[in-house]
Amino acid sequence: MDAIIIQILNGLDKGAAYALIALGLTLVFGTLGVVNFAHGALFMLGAFCAVTFNKIITWPIQPPKAEGQLFAPPAKPWFEYAFGDLGASIINWSVPISILLAIPVMLLIGLAMERGLIRHFYKRAHADQILVTFGLAIVLQEIVKKFFGANPLPQNAPAMFNGTADIASWFGLTDMFIVYPWWRLIYFLFSLLVIGAVFAFLQFTTYGMVVRAGMRDRETVGLLGINIERRFTVVFGIASVVAGLAGVMYTPILPPDYHLGMDFLVLSFVVVVVGGMGSLPGAVLAGFLLGILQSFASMNEVKGILPGIDQIIIYLVAVTILLTMPRGLMGRKGVMED
């Protein structure tokens, strides 16, 4: 039982990352009709916002080498020198604080990407869109590799979130052993917050209402004198920010490297397809569903019966769902069917 509960938590946590990436991906597809293979790269760029912020505030001040010493002694971050305890606290909290850097940076990157490149491909075939965005993703990751190298760069969660939460004791289950890392729980809650904010924005604001209307019928909204393209550009920026935030907060879980986006991209596309192309609730539902299924399939008991199932479960479920529900779990009629 303990193992099952832990795997559910695992699945929710994994699903949170899938859902956040898939949400932006399907948002872009639903509004602009663009299949954006560079979306994983946005997740990676978000993670590197956290890395960059950390590098800036921990820029080393190098004590001089002693005579006869071949390599210099350990350096100290300049923020600690300049601001003492406050500087040390900011370094400790650098990952959550870097959200403040990631929001404007990712918004700008998103807007530049959409205005500079992707808008020229609106009316082109999906295959062209896939090729150009995939190429863009490779260019972005090679740029990151050039500046940060190929090795993973570990980022620490704030010290108070190190270690694990004794979840069994919260519910008085003293005979069970259910622990889970604090930061992963924080990530799950953070993802719910971001997903909730995106839904609230689309559901409860006039801006969001217009965007939703545009997703349904772009031409009619245009005939009403609304510049729907500009709004969709903003939506692309928002999708970039969502992917970026997902990346920032994921850095203490998985030390980021330049390839991080590609690792998530394929799975996120499966999530979008299973959820239904262009369906926001579908992406979130499929994200969590596939995350949980993947976790269960990795249990030794399951693999004992079906060896290798952990590596194919997601694709197996995708095939099954697409055979029985061709539009995905919550796909709308007419999307991607022309």
Partner: protein
Amino acid sequence: MSKLIFNRRGILKVGAAGGVALAAPMHFVKGAFAEDMSCNMPTGDTVTLGFNVPQSGPYADEGADELRAYQLAVKHLNGEGDGGMMNTFTSKALKGNGILGKKVAYVTGDTQTKSDAARDSAKRMIEKEGAVMITGGSSSGVAVAVQGLCQEMGIIFMAGLTHSNDTTGKDKKRYGFRHFFNAYQSGVALGPVLKEEYGTDRRAYHLTADYTWGWTQEESIKNTTEALGWETVATVRTPVGAGDYSQYITPVLNSGADVLILNHYGKDMVNSLTQAIQFGLKDKQVNGKNFEIIVPLFSRLMAKGAGDNIKGILGTTNWNWSLDDDASQAFVKSFGAEYGAPPSQAAHTCYVQTLLYADACERAGTFFAPKVIEALEDFEFDGMGNGPTLYRGADHQCMKSALVVKGNENKQSEYDLLKVVKVVDRETLTYDPAIFGGDLGPSDAKKC
């Protein structure tokens, strides 16, 4: 005026005499002709070596360090710089005037840490760029693939970082040579230290990268720990490049195991170790003992990626820059002066392999591959950082010392990540080559 008469008898006479005249010199020069047959033997003023390292992909940083080491080796061979380990190497055949008087040049390839890409780049360097020897790489899968190609093409392969038993075991080749230690030797080296540090009553859980290196390391470490009396709770294979290992780590929590052995390397190891620590495994108590994590194969570049998570974790390594013998220090000084940072173990093995190949050519007095192979086989040397070393002829595996290391808890510089716990001598690590089977195959020279 004489008349040329064509009749049957005349033609037979002239034909027979001509045949004898043409065949006679061949009797005297046939040895020289065969020697010319060795692939890519240099004819001009330079000899070209092929450095096949990962320049992209997950091991690109390790590949960059290998390339730095190769460039330094080329400099030293050509008589530039301070000579590095050429000054400490017990064989004095190298003179700093290239190899056999020919200036050393090099070409590079990108393995991408993919077998197909690595074979393609090696093939290109051999067929189009005239490389007489191929060396490098950071993966056993790649090493086995390139070694097979080199055997087919008759080009000597001096392996880079490859730790699978298979490289010089079941997949060994006459044209392939490995200086780096292997998984079996890691197990033998680690055993006594594990017994001393963690006792004989332990329950181990393995997470293993699902490819040749992971399998052989799991087998070797499992044999070692079971011989100590440890119980193996489970051996779980994980896909290479899995990223998120949480679903593989959570079953460890309730498995009753008190030791987690991570048979992962590079980015996989960084991720699995980081996540194991996030799940509180290092702070856990099981069966009345502290939970322990072991990483049987360490590298400094990996340790850097894992950050503080590496502290106190035991593993093995082929060589470390902190060794204080003359040879290691000569190399570290030379490399540090050139690049401003100490070399990794991958850089060390690549540098040494280049000098060993050059030295073998000098001692053989030729680039003719079968003769160079003969010169390398059962070659005894010292002064390369691992103590007295034998390039064993039976499997082309170097028999030498290796290190048991621990993630440094009190580092003195940003590179001081691994603390040497024990230097395990060559005699302890020497084993019977027959245990891994395989067949070296022929050393016949090949046409390119």
